[in-house]
């Protein structure tokens, strides 16, 4: 399923990185420890994290993460959004908790 289809269905709010909306999502990864994400997340994942600093974009680029979703409406640093725009990594925000979002993603068959 494409990033844009997931975002539309779950009403995720796009903050940055519209250039990556056509990417495919095949998996979901939830973790806030960056080295753990780096070594365990798979390519084309949707990544749910409460980390909002600029380094999450570098991780996404390095692993080939399709998009990042920030749960519980946490605000995201401006420089993170600028980097995400440049690298075409979509960053979304949602009022859902990570668990609620994971359940909805499961319902979509991911």
């Amino acid at each position: 399923m494409k990033v844009s289809e997931i975002a539309n269905t779950l009403n995720l709010k796009l903050l940055s990185g519209a250039g990556g909306l056509d990417k495919e999502v095949n998996d979901v990864y939830i973790c806030d420890l960056l080295s753990f994400v780096m070594s365990h997340a798979s390519e084309n994942s949707l990544w749910i994290t409460v980390q909002t600093h600029i380094n999450i974009v570098a991780i996404a680029v390095l692993i080939g993460i399709s998009c990042i979703v920030i749960p519980e409406s946490i605000s995201v640093d401006e420089d993170t959004l600028l980097r995400a725009e440049k690298e075409s990594i979509p960053i979304f925000t949602t009022p859902y908790t990570a668990y609620q979002l994971a359940c909805r993603l499961r319902e979509l068959g991911i």
Partner: protein, 141 residues
């Protein structure tokens, strides 16, 4: 490719705004050269962890990528203060990172273990004058 291709990056201590840029460039270079996906993934993990180690734990340093026909080599060289106990630093979960760094999601004590798991050869030398981490990834497997 018979000649060695080399690319170096200066890494500043505690510069989190640029952290990950060198590794991202390394990944793009390897993709451009048509390296196998597994080599790219392993090099990405090793270069990222090395870059973050320099940012978090050193006074600054350089990250150098060298590629020849059979190997990808990443050298992370910093100017101190060194790793007091390399054996402990290789233990998963052991970290000397400050609390505020851990709150950002870094310093989980997984950097060097991640590098070890993804490298074919890992050599670390360290003193108070600096640390030299050499990572070799064989392109053929």
């Amino acid at each position: 490719m018979s000649e060695t291709y080399t690319l170096s990056f200066n890494i500043k201590a505690m510069d989190f705004s640029a952290a990950g840029e060198a590794s991202s460039t390394i990944k793009k270079v390897l993709m451009h050269l048509g390296m196998p996906p597994s080599v790219i993934k392993r090099a990405a993990v090793c270069s990222y962890e090395s870059e973050m180690n320099i940012v978090i734990h050193s006074y600054g340093g350089t990250l150098t990528l060298s590629i020849d026909s059979s190997q990808v080599i990443i050298n992370a060289i910093d100017i101190g203060p060194g790793i007091p106990d390399i054996e402990k630093a290789m233990e998963a979960g052991y970290s000397t990172a400050p609390e505020e760094i851990k709150e950002m999601g870094f310093g989980g004590g997984m950097g060097l273990p991640n590098i070890r798991d993804n490298a074919d050869i890992l050599e670390i030398t360290s003193s108070s004058a600096g640390t030299n981490v050499k990572i070799v990834i064989n392109i053929g497997g």
